[in-house]
């Protein structure tokens, strides 16, 4: 999380045509602000979250505040005012507030399939473009996101979990590769499983973080280990299309201790099929 956040006023003083908010999110409750009116609000190219909520001053709404959502397919084209001289009923100045409408993994979250081993959770980023001078003539789609986990060491038998954001995405390709082994015998196979995760706000037990909804997307894909003196290691990929999940969970399991070697995991997510 960027603190303090970038200032939209500074963008005006610098003569910029837009202000960009691009930062990593810590929780679903992160709130940012802009004190500038904008002629358009568009999801930025590097946003992991798919929906951004804008709260603005509206005398006709309860609390003098109204909300609008900017999403992957629905930018906000039109003037949205930050009224510096008015205040919300809460007593705060009527600037535009920015937050995400997507649910993030709770702090301390572990996936339902997690038992023991390594867990890496990629935090999502928010990327919002506020156009100051004129509406954009072309709105670019989100860029593909590449998650590279390279030279992951293999130790004793076990599993590693990797959670990557998948908000609003429609395509993913997961590639796992065993790097060349220096051992004298072929190593054990590497098993890859992919799950889809959707988080919820249900608080059944306030002590235990909600584990969300998990669905197994693909059956285990076994990637055999390379043979001795083989060249590059064996790899396998899984393609996922047209599924809606908040996060993708990739589980790598190796049955017994690997020879001194390592493996790579590459996850590509895209809005396009």
């Amino acid at each position: 999380m960027t603190f303090p956040q970038t200032s939209s006023i500074q963008s005006v003083l610098n003569g910029q045509e837009y202000w960009r908010l691009f930062t990593e999110l810590e929780s679903s409750g992160d709130i940012y602000e802009t004190e500038q009116s904008g002629r358009a609000f568009v999801l930025g190219p590097q946003s992991d979250v798919a929906q951004i909520g804008l709260t603005y001053f509206d005398l006709q709404s309860p609390g003098s505040a109204n909300c609008i959502t900017v999403s992957v397919d629905k930018p906000m084209i039109g003037r949205l005012d930050a009224i510096g001289t008015e205040i919300y009923q809460s007593g705060d100045r009527a600037r535009i507030l920015i937050s995400t409408n997507d649910l993030l993994p709770p702090i301390g979250f572990t996936p339902p399939s997690f038992t023991a081993g390594g867990l890496q959770v990629v935090k999502p980023s928010i990327d919002l473009l506020q156009y100051l001078s004129q509406e954009p003539t072309f709105i670019a789609p989100r860029a593909n996101r590449n998650h590279m986990f390279e030279n992951l060491p293999a130790g004793a038998a076990g599993s590693n979990w990797f959670l990557v954001p998948f908000y609003g995405r429609r395509f993913a390709e997961i590639t796992a590769k065993i790097l060349a082994s220096a051992a004298t015998a072929a190593g054990p196979p590497l098993t890859v499983e992919v799950y889809g995760l959707n988080f919820s706000n249900i608080i059944a037990d306030p002590v235990v973080p909600d584990s969300g909804h998990q669905e197994l997307l693909l059956s285990s894909v076994v990637i055999p280990a390379p043979a001795l003196a083989a060249g590059p290691g064996v790899s396998g990929s899984i393609v996922l299309t047209n599924r809606a999940f908040d996060y993708l969970e990739v589980k790598l399991t190796y049955a017994s201790a690997f020879p001194p070697t390592s493996f790579n995991l590459h996850v590509v997510t895209s809005d396009k099929i």
């Binding site: 006023i9 005006v12 003083l13 003569g15 004190e35 500038q36 009116s37 904008g38 002629r39 003037r79 005012d81 930050a82 009224i83 510096g84 001289t85 008015e86 156009y131 100051l132 001078s133 004129q134």
Partner: protein
């Protein structure tokens, strides 16, 4: 009868001549020395809230305003322009607005956020202002003398 009254010598003020103030935006107009009206250009960064003096015309000028950000910024000749969205002034837009200010007019603005405003002021040449007044007076006189006025006007336009 002989005039024995002695001529009175003219008295000049010892105080330096000052203008009402052809002011730059944001500059205190008081005590500004008299200056010749000239074309000038500014980028104004508006302050938030309240009524602010934008320009004080020393002579006949043409002002050109263009909003470079999202506003809202309102301008008015009248001092009561707050709040910006009340309709008491005109909202500035990304397309430029241009109008003539007469000598002594003041232009005020109010803004709800920090904005960039392109501000150009050009003097209306002396002869042009006279011609403007003459033409307006001529038109009014000629129109009052109709149908003779219409005939004269037609002859004048035909001659051109």
């Amino acid at each position: 009868m002989k005039n024995t009254r002695r001529p009175v010598a003219p008295r000049h003020s010892q105080q330096r001549a000052t203008s009402v103030g052809q002011t730059r935006p944001g500059v205190d107009p008081r005590g500004t020395p008299a200056v010749t009206t000239a074309t000038d250009t500014y980028t104004l960064f508006t302050q938030v809230g309240g009524t602010r003096l934008l320009y004080n015309a020393e002579g006949w000028v043409r002002v050109n305003l263009r909003l470079e950000t999202a506003g809202p910024v309102a301008v008015s000749i009248r001092q009561s322009v707050v709040p910006a969205l009340s309709g008491k002034g005109i909202l500035l837009e990304p397309t430029a607005v241009s109008f003539i200010m007469s000598k002594g007019d003041r232009l005020f603005y109010t803004a709800e956020a920090v904005n960039r405003v392109r501000f150009i002021v050009e003097p209306v040449p002396f002869l042009e202002s006279i011609l403007l007044n003459i033409q307006q007076g001529f038109d009014r006189t000629v129109n009052a003398l109709s149908p003779l006025g219409r005939l004269l006007k037609f002859l004048g336009s035909a001659k051109r």
